[in-house]
């Protein structure tokens, strides 16, 4: 892959091949050639982008969290079998979520999800992974120094809380139910779901009201 990149010896000059303009043209070339060869439809790219904006995204996960916060029996079923649990809410699983597992944050333990080998992430509940999750620096550091990494995200945990890091190396994709914020008694599921960020559902943010 490095063949596309050239540097002169002082590293200051960036070849045309490292510009966003170049990457954009090359990507457009791929779609163009795919169209010519009948390997893609004219509306495929728009549909894929739309799919992850409206069908498979963190709004699904937030719905699951809000339900788990308000329905303890549902939460128990979800923790026991996540794929069955989300189906109760009419959510479909699928790619990168064929085998889901939900873990729950508590007063005693804070869960963080990572993938040190690549970027495994629970797509049916969270859509596509954001850049921070794929960053080699995050992946290198979070397993050894999770508190320092949390600090980069602006999160400080009590000293006596233990951290469990889940490194997704085989075929299970992990999802975190964050702690419900105080002073939200009686809130609707919809209002609760709006509090829950993507980062909170992988343990890199707390939820506040």
């Amino acid at each position: 892959m490095s063949d596309d990149h050239h540097h002169d010896e002082d590293g200051h000059h960036h070849h045309l091949r490292e510009s966003e303009t170049y990457y954009a043209a090359r990507t457009k070339a791929l779609e163009s050639l795919f169209r010519e060869k009948g390997l893609i439809g004219t509306d495929t790219v728009d549909r894929v982008i739309n799919f992850f904006e409206h069908d498979m995204g963190p709004f699904n996960g937030a719905k699951v969290v809000a339900k788990a916060w308000t329905d303890p029996a549902f939460k128990e079923r979800l923790l026991a079998d996540a794929n069955k649990g989300i189906a109760e809410l009419g959510l479909k699983d699928g790619i990168e979520g064929e085998n889901l597992r939900v873990v729950e944050n508590s007063e005693d333990v804070h869960n963080i999800v990572c993938c040190t080998l690549c970027s495994c992430w629970p797509w049916p509940l969270l859509g596509l992974p954001p850049y921070w999750f794929k960053d080699p620096v995050f992946r290198a550091r979070v397993v050894r120094e999770p508190r320092a990494v949390l600090s980069d995200f602006g999160v400080t945990l009590p000293e006596d809380k233990s951290i469990a890091v889940w490194d997704s190396s085989a075929q299970v994709r992990y999802f975190v139910i964050p702690q419900r914020p105080a002073d939200t008694d009686g809130w609707s599921e919809e209002k609760l779901a709006a509090l829950v960020s993507t980062e909170a559902m992988q343990g890199l943010a707390l939820v506040s009201a």
Binding site: M1, S2, E9, E20, T21, A24, A25, R26, T27, K28, A29, L30, S32, L33, F34, G38, L39, I40, G41, T42, D43, T44, V48, I49, F51, M56, D93, I95, E96, G97, E98, N99, T116, L117, C118, W123, G127, L128, Y131, W132, K134, P136, V137, F138, A140, V142, V143, R144, P146, D152, F153, S162, I163, A164, V165, W166, D167, S169, V172, E199
Partner: protein
């Protein structure tokens, strides 16, 4: 006559140089000699930095970029990739093999989808879907004509195939009877597998001892179409729990733990 600069001038890539230095020190210098003698781990094997990211020091803060795509072309490229997945042109292991085969300096240097762009082009040419010259010519055309329209052609059936694929997935689970070697509560040692083109064994866990937390039901197939270190057949998978301080003895003694899922081929009795 001017002297040529060293191959890698630290002032140009301090992050990467620091990374490689700390990496070399960790494995060549700080490993316990008796352990190295016993297992032959590190130092006498080829290795890929990409397999050993966990625990590297000196990298500086995490870039907390919460967007999925930072340039419009990345979304377009992702959609092309999804089409390749949904129509069976390639699968995750193909992409991972390419990422793991990269120059490690480039792996750290380039943004995620820039790496994908290189990998996708290489794969399509290697497998004969596209030729290098037509990619270059078409790229040049769009560089010179950035607002030129895409051809109004294609296969209309493919869009639904891709969406169906998102919901169908590619379940690696195999509902077969297995005889797992380990049971919940067993102490296991992570094997130090021989280097492979592609692995699902994180380097920082090699030779470490943990406890089996869950024996997953049935078996899982990783991939039988790429070269791996023993996960090309369906096999039991285990969730193993480690005390984080059993992985790194030089960190503060806390109750922190780390979980990792292992294919059975990667474990032995401890």
């Amino acid at each position: 006559m001017r002297l040529d600069p060293p191959l890698f001038l630290p002032r140009y890539r301090p992050g990467v140089i620091g990374l490689i230095q700390s990496f070399i020190l960790r494995f060549a210098g700080s490993a316990q000699p008796e352990r190295r003698a016993q297992t032959g781990a590190m130092g006498d094997k080829t290795m890929k930095v990409q397999h050993y990211l966990g625990g590297i020091e000196g990298l500086g803060p995490v870039k907390v970029e919460k967007r999925v795509f930072v340039e419009p072309w990345e979304a377009q490229l992702f959609a092309v990739h999804s089409t390749m997945m949904g129509t069976g042109i390639w699968a995750w292991p193909d992409l991972r093999v390419l990422a793991e085969g990269m120059n490690p300096l480039d792996y750290f240097k380039y943004r995620y989808y820039i790496k994908w762009l290189g990998g996708i082009c290489k794969f399509l040419v290697d497998r004969g879907y596209l030729s290098q010259s037509e990619i270059e010519e078409k790229t040049k055309y769009f560089l010179n004509n950035p607002t030129a329209a895409l051809p109004n052609a294609g296969n209309a059936e493919i869009t639904q195939r891709v969406v169906d694929y998102f919901y169908r997935g590619a379940n690696p689970y195999r509902d077969v009877v297995t005889n797992p070697v380990f049971k919940a509560g067993d102490m296991v040692r992570v094997k130090d597998m021989p280097p492979a083109v592609h692995t699902r064994l994180p380097g920082y866990l090699r030779n470490k001892v943990g406890t089996v937390d869950v024996v997953y039901k049935g078996a899982y197939l990783y991939a039988d179409n790429v070269p791996t270190d023993g996960i090309g057949t369906a096999q039991p998978v285990y969730l193993v729990k480690f005390k984080t301080r059993d992985i790194w003895s030089d960190i503060p003694d806390t109750q922190d733990v780390l979980y990792n899922d292992f294919f059975e081929a990667y474990l032995e009795a401890a």
